[in-house]
Symmetry: C2
């Protein structure tokens, strides 16, 4: 054959329908074992390569799923979108981008649109609490998965990152590296992520005999606030855990102004592995951001396709430590 | 009335149909002047506020348009997506996110999907030349607007940024600030943007009596290559124009290693106004990135809605100079 084999060629050579070949590829458990074996051997023989998403995307029945998020220009959400786009493509679904622009009314407008367009479902990175709006959507029968937000499985699926464990990871790294006094430079108390990361820091410190943990709360999580926190310190600790990378980059700058060296005098760990972390050579905690998007799509499509067999899941992803130069 | 007025209330009070109110709001030129006046006065009386996009999004006939781009996790493309999402929302269209992942086959898969889903049209930030694929799509009657890429209006609409003018802006700023010897630190010659920015730099230098312009070409447009370029210089110029912000941030770092001060000894201008520009306090050339997305959507929807009345346009956007600390 002088052109790449198509699914029709496989079906003809195996003496089955195209739908059966598709089932062997996508849902082999629904096909009897002998047929699976025959089709797979023909696939190998003809060197048939299915381009992962294109086939599904082109199918007339391809359905759209929504991705609702606060701000696509924010790199955190853009990376969630990339993970979601890749996963949707792999499974042959189109992805409708619903950028709510931090506007609850617009978020609501998109959610209504998804219902009326009969979208297969939606992955939502919600604005604020948003529970009322989401609950209404769920009652209208639209499968909905929350990303970057945990929820009880009774309400549906969710994918979130374990920020308590992330905070513990950062402080354990400082303590295991020899630090005995650790300062946590934290954002405003009302932010759930900040509270979780500090809780993790405390858990890690409690497990180390002789470790001292203090906390400074700054007004906002910016480079400038981080620098100011470093300038104001009376006594330098051995280690500093800043609960985001902007604070950490600023803290390092503030230390440099005081003539203190990093990591020689003070070891600093950030959080997030944002672009600034690479630029400032920060040791930091990396969140699996793209996986928030891809795992959410996988859970959603399981709900869409498995129907009654679907079991809700609250998936919690782990962060990892990225060691660069500051600790 | 104890609830916000709806479009039905306006229609009833003005004694016209909902469709006529909608026409007054969206296409007043199609409605006779007396009716427009009557409907507008009722709108004012009832204090009717139309939420810009939600109404359109909820309409049963809401159609989807595609946004095809190489990498949604890249902040340049994410900002194009934001501009596109905002503009589509304002006009009541859903936006299908087609992240091609730098894979021509996947780009093709999405383009085919858009045809078969009868999308209203697509905004495409093309991979490489891509002209063959796009031409096929155009022949199948799908309106298509290129973003970040100019093309002849005979082929359709496009929105691009004038990189020649941007390069001239950067070098003129250095020369007007007193620099007489300017070095351009440029990326590989094959990149269209690099060639355009250098051409602009030359145009600006030619207009200044006594100005000397030199060019150094680096291997890739990274912080490390910028730093290395600064380390290797035998003689420092008065001003340096780096054709992207990563090069400029690296160049400043390399100068600092040599003990040269910025802007005291050498003035440095970058290009792009990427995140790194803010972090490094770079003076740089800002491209209207979100407008690439929003203008492309506007041209596309004009083509979709005006039909035969539409006239193709090659819109070229201007960049602006952002003055920070390095020049």
């Amino acid at each position: 054959m002088d052109r790449p084999a198509r699914i029709q060629d496989v079906a003809a050579a195996a003496g089955v329908s195209v739908a059966t070949v598709s089932n062997v590829l996508n849902r082999p458990e629904r096909v009897n074992a002998r047929t699976v074996e025959k089709v797979r051997s023909v696939i190998a023989e003809l060197d048939y390569v299915r381009h992962p998403g294109a086939a599904g995307l082109r199918a007339a029945h391809a359905r759209s799923i929504g991705l609702v998020l606060p701000d696509i220009a924010n790199s955190f959400y853009a990376r969630i979108a990339k993970g979601a786009a890749d996963a949707a493509y792999r499974q042959g679904y189109a992805l409708s981008l619903c950028h709510s622009g931090d506007d609850p009314e617009r978020e609501q407008g998109y959610l209504s649109m998804l219902v009326e367009q009969r979208a297969g479902g939606a992955v939502v990175v919600p604005l604020g609490a948003a529970t009322g709006r989401l609950e209404r959507l769920r009652r209208r029968g639209v499968p909905l998965v929350l990303a970057d937000r945990a929820r009880p499985t009774a309400e549906g699926c969710s994918v979130s990152v374990d920020d308590v464990a992330g905070g513990a990871l950062a402080v354990r790294h400082l303590l295991e590296g020899g630090a005995r006094s650790v300062l946590v430079v934290n954002g405003p108390r009302g932010i759930r992520q900040c509270a979780d990361r500090y809780q993790g820091a405390r858990q890690a410190a409690r497990r180390f005999r002789g470790a001292a943990l203090e906390q400074v709360v700054v007004e906002s999580m910016t480079i400038e606030c981080g620098a100011e926190a470093a300038r104001r310190l009376n006594r330098l600790p051995d280690g500093v855990f800043c609960t985001n990378d902007f604070l950490a980059a600023g803290f390092c700058r503030g230390l440099a102004e005081r003539g203190a060296s990093v990591p020689g005098d003070v070891r600093v760990v950030g959080y997030g592995d944002l672009d600034v972390a690479g630029l400032a050579a920060l040791t930091t905690v990396r969140q699996p951001v793209e996986e928030l998007g891809s795992a959410a799509i996988e859970l959603l499509l399981d709900e869409v396709e498995a129907g009654a067999d679907h079991v809700h899941e609250a998936r919690v992803l782990a962060s990892s430590l990225v060691v660069r130069e500051t600790a």
